[in-house]
Symmetry: C2
Subunit: 195 residues, 2 copies
Amino acid sequence: MPRTAVHTRQESLEKALELFWRQGFGATSLKDLEGALDMRPGSIYATFGSKENLFREALDRYAERAMAELERVMAAEKSPLGGLVAYVRLLGGVRDQTCQACMLVKSLLEFGEREQAARPRVEALLARMERRFSERLAEARSVGEISADLDPERLGRRLQVDVIGLRTYAQRDVDDRAIRELVEDIAREWERLRQ
Amino acid sequence: MPRTAVHTRQESLEKALELFWRQGFGATSLKDLEGALDMRPGSIYATFGSKENLFREALDRYAERAMAELERVMAAEKSPLGGLVAYVRLLGGVRDQTCQACMLVKSLLEFGEREQAARPRVEALLARMERRFSERLAEARSVGEISADLDPERLGRRLQVDVIGLRTYAQRDVDDRAIRELVEDIAREWERLRQ
DNA sequence: CTCATTCTTGAGCGATCATTCAAGTTGATT
DNA sequence: AATCAACTTGAATGATCGCTCAAGAATGAG
């Protein structure tokens, strides 16, 4: 009996995610969203409630995809350490994405003040990613790939710093060769942990 | 014969820098600046021309200070590599600054689109910092501190990735011990290049 | 067809944005 | 005291911000 919806929630979210990722929350106006989603303000608000809520949903979707990709890459490698190295190498191919830098990191820096609404979510999603790194590094240690002296938590943090640094650096206007070399250097450093 | 100015350009710039660093360009309104500089719009525009120009001057000032600190730390160490390691260790004390993350990096991510006005300047300032790293690493190589096989340019990039990653990570709501351990781990990695 | 339900529209809301400028204030010089 | 240049003020500008809501359009059921 209802009028058929012309857009699915998922598709709209995808388009919003792309915009927010590229431009950030503050720099993306409702007019931008109207254009990208091909929806009028009334529809957007009926569907998503507010710009901020739409952003939060986009963030969650982004993080979900990022985690899924990490799991996919890790699952393809038997070695826990090898899986993480493969993930690092994959970041070299980031150049043809919507944006080189991680959306979580962009949001973290945009919402510097802690009282900002989306900030806790950003924190939680970054923490989850780091935790996954640490878990995998703990596995690597327990199967003897890396020294028992190493602390998986410290290594997980260290890996997140590398990922953040690499992807943020890739946002600079440098040529692809530089990025490829960088990825290779970082990947080799992690390989070197193998004992 | 003129009326005595109540604010010096330098002091105003300092206050603006602090605001822009913490909040970013877009999230800092003229009302914010009016409050922080204790100046009315007319004065601000008479002095700095536009919000964007004020931001650009603040950026330059930030970069100048950052470069000066790098030079200071490096000058205090005889060893070129040691100077860079000392700089990395110093980043651990970043926690009591205006903002943990580098203002250049925050700006790089905020002005993702290349057509943004301040973007080329951000690129140039980041490139200058990296170049300085590479120069110092070239010295380290020429005095035999690190292997002749290593490429100072690649290492300079690698160091900038570490610095970007570390300072951006420090923006997260993690405890100081985590940051201290991270700085130590990164510093030790660079020490390990010493042959 | 009529109706009820769901979705979409877009004009318009008050607030805030960066910016301008005519008028006011100040202080040294005459 | 009068003058004038330098500096500051703050009301006002048009644009744009996120958002609302009454009205319109489209569908399936009766």
